[in-house]
Amino acid sequence: MASTIRVRATSSGETTEVQALIQHPMDSGFVKNAKGEIIPPHFIQQLTFEYDGKAVFAANWGGGVSKDPYVKFAFKGGKKGDELKISWIDSKGATDTTTAKIQ
């Protein structure tokens, strides 16, 4: 099954720049559908990036993060060919995890 997470991690030697794009509706619970009914809240709450067994970045998100969220950060170190582990959990308890090779 295709992952909801797309990640590009690029090492410059000193730092690794990470860009991630996740497919998720990120419903805030404040938007109405065409019938005027509130679309119930459904959004990613926590997102973590691990390298070498350690968290290098972690997000707590609310419903104010855009649909199909994008995030970019960088950390010191990270070798080409090594793996970065990315996982999220949403407000309904759904999760997804993937790994990406540092390029």
Partner: protein
């Protein structure tokens, strides 16, 4: 799910009262670097994300208030044509940043995103957020146990949170 995933079964009122201290303890650990797997075990700050005002959200999240600082840089457009997708980035020249959070004053819930910056991670984050209408965007940076902020008004032509 998130309320029980770390074994907490405290009544809601206790959680509310304890949120500030829990947040402090968590960040203290982080600063010392003794909690390598903190992210997986870290409790989601549910109450902070439910606050309507920027001040209440910051208080619940960090247990203290922020002061303005020019060492916090907030990159936001002057005008966002689509409030559903507003690209916002923040960075800081403080050396010991442990957390960066984004808030939108006029959104139904002010707190949008809060990022943990472990030692070794660059204090710079870019993301995309929703804005209900023209509003101040506030970024809060935690560095050396203190809070610093920067604010910028972003004009929104079409809101991204209303219905």
């Amino acid at each position: 799910m998130t309320k029980t995933n770390d074994g907490f079964a405290l009544p809601r009122r206790v959680i509310l009262q304890g949120v500030a201290s829990v947040a402090l303890v968590g960040l203290g650990k982080l600063a010392l670097g003794v909690a390598p797997a903190f992210a997986a075990n870290d409790k989601y700050p549910e109450e902070a994300f439910k606050q309507k005002s920027v001040d209440d959200a910051i208080k619940l999240l960090y247990g203290k208030t922020a002061e303005k600082s020019d060492k916090v840089k907030l990159d936001a457009p002057e005008i966002a044509e689509n409030g559903a997708v507003v690209p916002i980035a923040a960075s800081s020249t403080f050396a010991d940043v442990t957390s960066i959070s984004f808030l939108v004053a006029e959104n139904p819930n002010a707190l949008v995103a809060s990022y943990k910056i472990p030692a070794g991670t660059v204090p710079s984050v870019a993301n995309r957020i929703k804005m209900a209408k023209t509003s101040n965007v506030i970024v809060v940076v935690e560095a050396g146990g203190k809070l610093y902020s920067a604010t910028k008004e972003v004009k929104v032509t079409v809101g991204g949170c209303g219905g």
